[in-house]
């Protein structure tokens, strides 16, 4: 029997994977991928809890997040392409023009 806990544990594992990705990766493209993993981990959580309580609000929220994630990817990829054309790299450590 698959219970709510299983979903939430999956969601937590995915979230941790995403978080580690955000921390460890030095490539901006992979950072974006990790962010997607984070968002979808949260989506799983929302959908599961929504099903558990029989309340559609959580699923609606998940849809919104998908929509926002899509637009975010569109904008983020666009920016990244521009950046790559200019600098020829997406390495995070090379992006320090705001160094204090």
């Amino acid at each position: 029997m698959i219970t709510l806990s299983h979903y939430l544990i999956l969601s937590a594992i995915l979230f941790c994977i995403g978080l580690i990705g955000v921390y460890r990766r030095k490539n901006l493209l992979l950072l974006l991928f990790s962010t997607e993993i984070l968002l979808n981990a949260v989506n799983i959580g929302f959908a599961a809890v929504s099903k558990f309580y029989g309340d559609l609000t959580g699923q609606m929220f998940a849809f919104f997040i998908i929509a926002i994630a899509a637009s975010e990817v569109a904008v983020g990829l666009g920016l990244m392409i521009v950046w790559y054309k200019r600098r020829g790299t997406l390495d995070l450590d090379s992006m320090q023009s705001m160094h204090g």
Binding site: L19, V22, Y23, L92, M95, M98, G100
Partner: protein
């Protein structure tokens, strides 16, 4: 009559503002003529007012409300009663003469216009001082004359001694004005008003201690303005200013403001005999003290300044003895002959290229006949010789002292009368007669402009005849001032007159006799008493040594040890701490996205922990 009052008050102000427009321009004779004309207009108004109030009338106007807040109500009110009218007459007469005279005296000065602006501003302040119907207005005028006096003493500010003297006068007066201000506050707190008539009406039912405090504090103010001991040193130093200024401000008008204050506040002073007696004693002391310093001084203007001090002492004796009208009378006659004396000294200075040492002059009578005559007249009046003005007023003071059984005061004043006659004629003899020493020093003296001499003529006339108005004057001021008839037996009276005249005449005789024969021997200058007097009793030195130097030392300690080591150090410590913490924490702002994300993760963790452990919902 109100119109005349406003004309008398504001004509000098208009003149001053007009002259001030040209203050930075080269000499323009129009400023001199305009201010003199306006002052003459003010003089005419004053005379009209004097005629009007002579028979008991009084002009009282309220220009506008000035302060009206809560229980405090101070209107800009002006009153012309007999005392004020007398003061207005004196002020406008002397200042008109001085303005006209100054056109000649300041002829070659490049700040000609500025001089007239300040001089007229002074007259305006003085008019406010004497015409105000309340203590607040009096205080404005009081500060106004102080300011103008400062600007005029330091008129040649490029000379260090002049600006020093100006500051000295200003600071001395500030000290005294603090006392005056406290006195005014006390009046307001305890009488609930600053209007003269309202305050004086309540004197009878006030506590005696309170009255002592009020009068004492007000008198401190008067001591500063009238340069009484121990605040007297500024007056002699104030001679750094142009001579017409000395004539107008430091002889005839401003320095008598203190006497005016005591006369004006006579209901207060007559209610406290202790303070009045102190006023009289201090006056007598200063009379003798200043006269003794004048005996040996070599500086033409300083001698006259000390004689002013001495005469102010006489006025305070009269005021302190309750003979207010005599004080006012002496104030008036003194203004005429002392201004004349100073203007004469101005002529001499002009002739001698601003040389002031009377031992470098001598024999000037041949070159400057008219100045000699005018100054001799003034000196005779100062010495109190019949029938000149000084005789009447000074004799009255002596008579008042004798009749009220103050024999010690009388003796001091009597001796002072002799000294006065001596130093006046020592000055006249050394300047105008005897050996022509100026030739040794290469001076080419010449008589002053004709119109300057003519300008002095009215003062000379008044110095001669003013005394004969004694009875009409007494009658006039009797409307506002208490008049006490002094009853001395006719024989005693004539003895007093003869004795006083005798000592004055012998003072003159000694001076004339000694200085026509070459003066006193040099041995005198070695004696202790000569040195003591010549160094002004070492008082300036004592002030310097025991007040200025410790004060400077204290200031240095506060600066080096308190300000730099405590206050500055604290402020600097706070600043450097913040600066250093900023320097230390700026590495956080690396601009590296990974780092920032890590910090964000840490922040998230902390918030999560906080949410778990401090959750409001348990």
């Amino acid at each position: 009559m109100e119109t005349y009052l406003y004309i008398a008050l504001f004509a000098p102000l208009v003149g001053s503002l007009f002259a001030a427009l040209f203050a930075n321009r080269p000499k323009n004779i129009v400023t001199g003529i305009a201010t003199s004309t306006l002052l003459f207009v003010a003089w005419i108004s004053s005379v009209v007012l004097l005629m009007h109030v002579m028979h008991g009338e009084e002009v009282h106007v309220k220009l506008m409300d000035w302060i009206h807040a809560g229980g405090l109500y101070i209107p800009f009110g002006f009153v012309v009663d007999q005392v004020t009218a007398t003061m207005m007459f004196v002020v406008t007469t002397v200042s008109t003469v001085v303005h006209i005279y100054s056109m000649g005296y300041m002829d070659h000065d490049r700040s000609f216009n500025r001089f007239f602006a300040w001089l007229s501003a002074f007259v305006f302040s003085m008019m406010v001082l004497v015409m105000s119907d309340n203590f607040a207005g009096l205080f404005i005028g009081w500060e106004g004359v102080g300011l103008c006096s400062w600007a005029l003493i330091g008129f040649w500010y490029e000379r260090e001694s002049a600006s020093w003297a100006a500051n000295e006068a200003f600071i001395m007066n500030r000290i005294a004005d603090l006392g005056m201000l406290i006195g005014i506050f006390l009046v307001y707190w305890n009488f609930g008003s600053l209007q003269y008539d309202e305050v004086f009406a309540q004197v009878a039912d006030k506590d005696h201690t309170l009255l002592i405090m009020v009068t004492a504090f007000l008198f401190i103010g008067a001591m500063g303005k009238s340069a009484q001991f121990p605040l007297h040193t500024w007056l002699a130093d104030a001679m750094e200013g142009p001579t017409p200024v000395s004539a107008l401000i430091h002889a005839a008008t401003m320095v008598t403001a203190g006497v005016y204050l005591v006369i004006r506040a006579n209901p207060l002073y007559s209610a406290v005999p202790e303070v009045s007696y102190f006023v009289a004693c201090l006056g007598a002391f200063v009379a003798l003290f200043a006269a003794s310093m004048a005996l040996v001084n070599r500086d033409l203007k300083r001698i006259i300044a000390y004689s002013t001090l001495s005469q102010l002492g006489y006025m305070f004796v009269a005021a302190g003895l309750g003979a207010y009208w005599i004080a006012l009378f002496h104030l008036m006659t003194h203004a005429f002959f002392k201004a004349l004396l100073f203007l004469g000294a101005g002529n001499v200075m002009h002739a001698m290229d601003d040389e002031l040492d009377i031992f470098k002059m001598g024999g000037l009578a041949k070159k400057m006949k008219w100045t000699m005559i005018l100054m001799t007249l003034a000196s005779l009046a100062l010495a109190g010789i019949y029938p000149f003005a000084g005789f009447f007023s000074k004799d009255k003071i002596l008579e008042a002292a004798f009749a009220t059984d103050h024999y010690v005061l009388w003796t001091i004043l009597w001796i002072t009368a002799g000294l006065t006659a001596f130093y006046s004629f020592r000055l006249v003899m050394l300047v105008f007669f005897g050996e022509e020493r100026y030739k040794i020093f290469g001076f080419h003296p010449h008589e002053a402009y004709k119109f300057m001499l003519w300008a002095m003529a009215p003062l000379a006339v008044l110095a001669v005849i003013a005394g004969f108005f004694e009875h009409s004057f007494m009658h006039m001021v009797s409307y506002v001032l208490p008049i006490e008839e002094y009853h001395v037996a006719s024989g005693t009276f004539w003895t007093l007159v003869v004795v006083t005249l005798g000592i004055a005449a012998s003072g003159i005789a000694v001076a004339v006799f000694k200085y026509s024969k070459g003066g006193f021997s040099k041995k005198w200058e070695e004696t202790f008493i000569y040195k003591l007097l010549f160094n002004q009793y070492y008082i300036p030195k004592i002030y310097d040594e025991y007040i200025c130097k410790p004060y400077a030392e204290l200031s240095r300690i506060f600066w080096k040890d308190m300000d730099l080591k405590v206050v500055d150090a604290t402020v600097d410590f706070i600043a450097t701490t913040i600066y250093k913490s900023g320097m230390a924490s700026r590495v956080v702002q690396s601009g590296n996205l990974s780092n920032m994300l890590r910090w964000m993760g840490v922040g998230l963790l902390i918030l999560l922990l906080a949410a778990i452990f401090y959750s409001p919902v348990r």
